[in-house]
Amino acid sequence: MSIQVQNVSKRFGSFQALSDISIDIESGELIALLGPSGSGKTTLLRILAGLEGLDEGAILFDGENITGVSPKERKIGFVFQHYALFRHMTVFDNVAYGLKVRPRKERPSKAEIAKKVNELLSLVKLDNLADRYPSQLSGGQRQRVALARALAVEPKVLLLDEPFGALDAKVRKELRRWLRKLHNEFHVTSIFVTHDQEEALDVANRIIVMNNGKIEQIGTPDEVYENPKSPFVYDFLGNVNLFRGRLHNGKLTQGQFEIDVPTYLDSHEEAVGYVRPHDIHIEKVQTSNDTVAATIVHIHLLGPVVQIELKRDDIDEYLEAEVTKEHFNQLGIKKGDIVYIRPKQLKVFIPEDFSI
């Protein structure tokens, strides 16, 4: 099912939780709603599910305005942040619930319900725990019950609020992979909330970045990561080095750096260059005069990548660079060495572009 969110605003008292949100989601997409805590992700998800009302705007499912339709009628599967399993029901009864509560005419027979529930339980690999109560399950198992329960009603849209939020790293990765696989099989339009950029980049086919109740950017993981539209997105998606300097004749000057920024030929003002750690070029011997000297302060070995903390010699500022293990070995550098650095790629934002 396709979803349109049209100019949706929501206030809680005087607090503006969402302002003028518009999103177009095509049928079968897997969308990540990414943003810091309090940015309005849950609120937006609850509005889509009909659990929360909205002050302005409209929600369309398959082109049909369902703004006033009750959650009961929306055919949505909602996976709550803390699972919200029915604590007095077994795993089996939890999953069967959505089918059991259907009006008599639409309700499948007991045998059909049992068959369906067992199918779902084997899908989430919980066949042998059908008789347990939620309190007897681990976090990851509860999460899978919540998912099976939501899938049992064959929803047209699956909404997941921080589905992996409260789980430990290993279980998270596993469930993440599993969610993508599930989505590949069922093609149900899915939106999941997360505040973990890695999760969003890894799982989603499109990412919606939110901040302060507004949308900062919508795009594929590549677009959002490689081409952030705002400093906030740059900052939020991965580590970043800031080069605060002045624009002059198409160059950003900062300390001894003079970096070409042809898009800002006519600007003469304060600006900030954003450079990802892996876009910092490092050399041991100076080969060109557009590099500056820096001292290696610390080296973190993180498996295949190596993080290098640097202190610039021209101005009193620290930088973080990232190189592959292979490249690091070629460089043959160690803590305390002086190296020469330059940004390979940099994106400039003029402070008036954004509010800090």
Binding site: L51, E73, H88, G165
Partner: protein, 292 residues
């Protein structure tokens, strides 16, 4: 300059403090045992002793007199009236209590705090005043007195008055028991139920009610005990008509005032048995509720 972004994770807060024995609070054996002795003496003096007295006095003149006292028509009428009141008041207050707790904990609306305050009102007001309110409203000289007389409706000095007064005094019990429980449980299970397509009624029946059943039973037991024992408010509105408007506590008082001590204590012993049964059921419920 790298700036790591701090993300606050909304993790559930788990409060787990089951230990009641604290190492830091360990007292010397003397202090401990004298406190225990004082508590036990106090209980014996004010609870066990009176209870024994009731049964001893009730059976003083033999089993036959005891049976005769509680099968006396007036006594039977009082028992019947009390049971009638229980059968009407307890279900009504259960429904009211659940409904009030439901709206207070699951919805946000204006006047919510006023409603909570009003629910507590009977705890703050003396039962005698509660009774007087109904006399002032429905008595012969009361606000609606003339109209009621003209339409031949009897409220005061009749069953309706007793019911009204008892309802007033006992309506906080169920609601008071449920509100904290339902507040703690929140609304997410209900939301899950609705999003799975269940109606409001099914959600209440299949999700809310099973989650609150022990608290609800507990509230009903307390409400029931108070309904049986209520004296002050009922005394004001009943009119003490023998065989008609005397509940068990009122009947006991009349017998006592007429120096029929054995009969008074015989009926009192019945009420005491009810009270003991109540306490046993209450403990079973508490024990069951803890298990879940």
């Amino acid at each position: 300059m790298t700036k790591p972004i701090e993300v606050k994770q909304d993790a559930p807060i788990v409060i787990n403090r089951t230990a009641t024995k604290s190492y830091a609070l360990q007292e010397s054996a003397i202090v401990k045992w004298s406190l225990i002795t004082i508590s036990l003496l106090f209980l014996a003096l004010f609870l066990i002793l009176p209870l024994i007295t009731i049964f001893v006095t009730a059976l003083e003149k033999g089993w036959d007199t005891y049976v005769a006292s509680i099968t006396h028509p007036d006594a039977l009428a009082a028992i019947k009236l009390t049971l009638t009141v229980v059968l009407i008041v307890v279900p009504l207050n259960t429904i009211f209590g659940v409904a009030a707790a439901w709206v207070i904990t699951k919805f946000n609306f204006k006047g919510k705090n006023l409603l909570i305050t009003l629910i507590d009102l009977p705890f703050a007001v003396s039962p005698v005043i509660a009774g007087l309110i109904f006399i002032l409203l429905f008595g012969a000289q009361g606000l609606f007195g003339d109209w009621l007389f003209a339409n031949d409706i009897k409220i005061v000095f009749a069953l309706p008055g007793i019911l009204l007064a008892t309802i007033f005094v006992t309506f906080p019990f169920v609601a008071r028991e449920l509100i904290p429980l339902m507040q703690m449980q929140g609304v997410t299970e209900e939301e899950a139920s609705i999003s799975l397509g269940a109606s409001g009624f099914k959600t209440f029946w299949l999700v809310t009610l099973p989650n609150i059943k022990w608290g609800l039973l507990y509230g009903i037991i307390l409400c029931n005990a108070r309904t049986i024992g209520e004296f002050g408010a009922v005394s004001v509105v009943s009119g003490h008509i023998r065989g008609l408007t005397n509940t068990m506590p009122l009947h006991i008082e009349i017998l006592y005032n007429e120096y029929q001590f054995t009969a008074a204590f015989a009926v009192a012993s019945l009420m005491s048995i009810l009270a003991i049964i109540t306490i046993i059921i209450k403990n079973i419920i508490e024990w069951k509720a803890k298990e879940v």
